[in-house]
Symmetry: C2
């Protein structure tokens, strides 16, 4: 039987079908109540994802759109050092959208929240010409243990979790920009998974909370690219950085597959890996990398000179200015 459209269900019918995906009572009143733990501050972030701008049926099935939408927002919470409480979802849909698409979207969001914590606390649905998913994520944080962009200090090491460029490589595979036969099956699947089902790094946040560190810590997530994250932190902190080319977390096999130049570009500028970029005292940085089981690397250091340079060795103080293409959504 073909899936009914959202127009045939009507707004009330659609909301009824969405209830099982939401926290109990989430759609019963004008708003929903949530409880913070004592002494915690609320952390809030909003992202809007638009079809054919941020996602497309061509590269991402709706369940993965749901996961990615939730994960991108949760990653912003992780980037502040917060733990997730939940999300609200504002959904604008063309009337001919099949119910199955909506169900898969919500299932994907629920999958992600089940893994990392939190629930869907209702939202809104309405008609539009283009699918738009607007998510607000809510988290809580000990106000003494927040990660901010503006508190980096010269002499600190710059630590990056995970590989960078894998999400971009996964997208390239899905768009057939690069040939799938250039890489082994497991590698291909890992890159595509990084694009479709990114993992917000709450494990790294938990580890930071457990370590004996001086707070606040400087950092942010790398959703708009590794270079962009370094630049944002430096600008907001009034510092500079030296990034060592040889230490960059280029995913294994990427240089072989697309050549060293494009691999470097995707690692620095690819974006959407949703990893963390942190500034820590050198000793703490080493301990952090070790305790995260190698899923992190020290890629450079914070400098008092405000240039941001890509250098060949630690002693090299010239290097090449690192620019960030960032993402311009207009």
């Amino acid at each position: 039987m073909p899936s009914p459209t959202v127009a045939s269900l009507g707004e009330i019918g659609l909301i009824e079908r969405l209830k099982p995906y939401c926290a109990v009572g989430a759609l019963g009143d004008d708003a929903v109540l949530m409880q913070l733990s004592p002494g915690r501050s609320l952390v809030v972030t909003t992202d809007v994802l638009v079809e054919d701008v941020h996602f497309s049926d061509r590269t991402t099935p709706p369940r993965s759109v749901g996961w990615r939408s939730a994960a991108a927002n949760l990653s912003d919470l992780a980037a502040m050092g917060a733990a997730p409480l939940g999300i609200t979802v504002g959904l604008a849909l063309p009337p001919e959208t099949p119910w199955d698409w909506v169900a898969d979207l919500y299932q994907g969001m629920q999958d992600c929240l089940e893994q990392y914590g939190g629930a869907i606390y209702g939202g809104d649905v309405c008609r539009a010409d283009q699918k738009t998913v607007s998510i607000t994520a809510l988290g809580q944080v000990d106000p003494q243990r927040v990660i901010y962009r503006h508190v980096a200090q010269p002499g600190q090491a710059i630590v990056v979790t995970g590989w960078h460029g894998a999400a971009r490589a996964g997208l390239a595979l899905l768009l057939e920009e690069i040939a799938a036969d250039g890489v082994s099956d497991p590698v291909r699947q890992a890159w595509i998974a990084t694009h479709q089902r990114p993992r917000p790094r709450f494990d790294a946040v938990d580890l930071l909370q457990q370590m004996d560190l001086t707070w606040p810590i400087a950092g942010m997530d790398s959703s708009d690219g590794l270079a962009n994250a370094v630049m944002q932190i430096c600008r907001r902190s009034g510092v500079g950085a030296q990034i060592m080319r040889s230490r960059l977390p280029i995913p294994p096999h990427l240089s072989d597959c697309v050549g060293p130049e494009l691999a470097l570009d995707w690692t620095l500028q690819g974006g959407e890996d949703f990893e963390l970029v942190l500034c820590l005292p050198p000793g703490a940085a080493q301990a952090f990398v070790k305790r995260l089981g190698g899923e992190a690397a020290i890629v450079g250091s914070v400098t008092s000179v405000t240039d941001i340079l890509l250098v060949e060795t630690e002693a090299d103080s010239h290097g090449q200015p690192l620019d960030s293409k960032g993402f311009q959504h207009f």
Copy 2:
């Protein structure tokens, strides 16, 4: 000089220009921190407004779109008995949107928040084919003093704040569905203001908090119409209601202007007046109406029989079933 478009400003330029409208520090990190008062629960609500579905340049200048978007969300907080903390704004815009439109939108939201409390805590901007404004409002409430839909009890009086139908009449004037010369200038302006700049009823919420009442109280806002609010409360509480036709808050002059039948329809079904519908013990209801200075009326009572009837007199137990057209956004 013509206004630059959002495409010519770029995402970064646009965000720079939005900063003055936002809470200090709201756009500097991946997310924003907010502080709840001790012992308060968080209240969250999300609304999506789409151009040509919820608003149109024809009837509503962007500054009023901003006010209405904020007010509609704040009204959902008031409907829960909460006080506003602030909003986040997810904005999807066609690239050719003039900056002036965006500035007016934010100015309107800021106007509303200045009046009722709270600030803009950042958000997101991105490209889309159609203007979409997604607002999440955050509030706080004493968890012992929440207004819910499901706690109405037979014997309670149904109290409604303000006039109903004025927002619909204002829209009709703007759409030229009705002739402007049928009403005096002040009346016309009042109806249009109700449509363009509705007032969330935090004054009524404050009054409820000051009165010696048994909590929780049943109620909701009348954003989808007075009849819809009565029906939602009754359904969720497993009760019915008798609404007295003669007590309905039909705006002065509306019957003269559009005839008694349409006036009744707009009062019951018009929607977007953003008033409150509350269920209170009869004595408390009378005190509430008196203390609100006549800006409220007892329109009927909660019954154990689950029918919802529009009756002529209190003694009339037959009446006419009240149906709610509600709003179906698909």
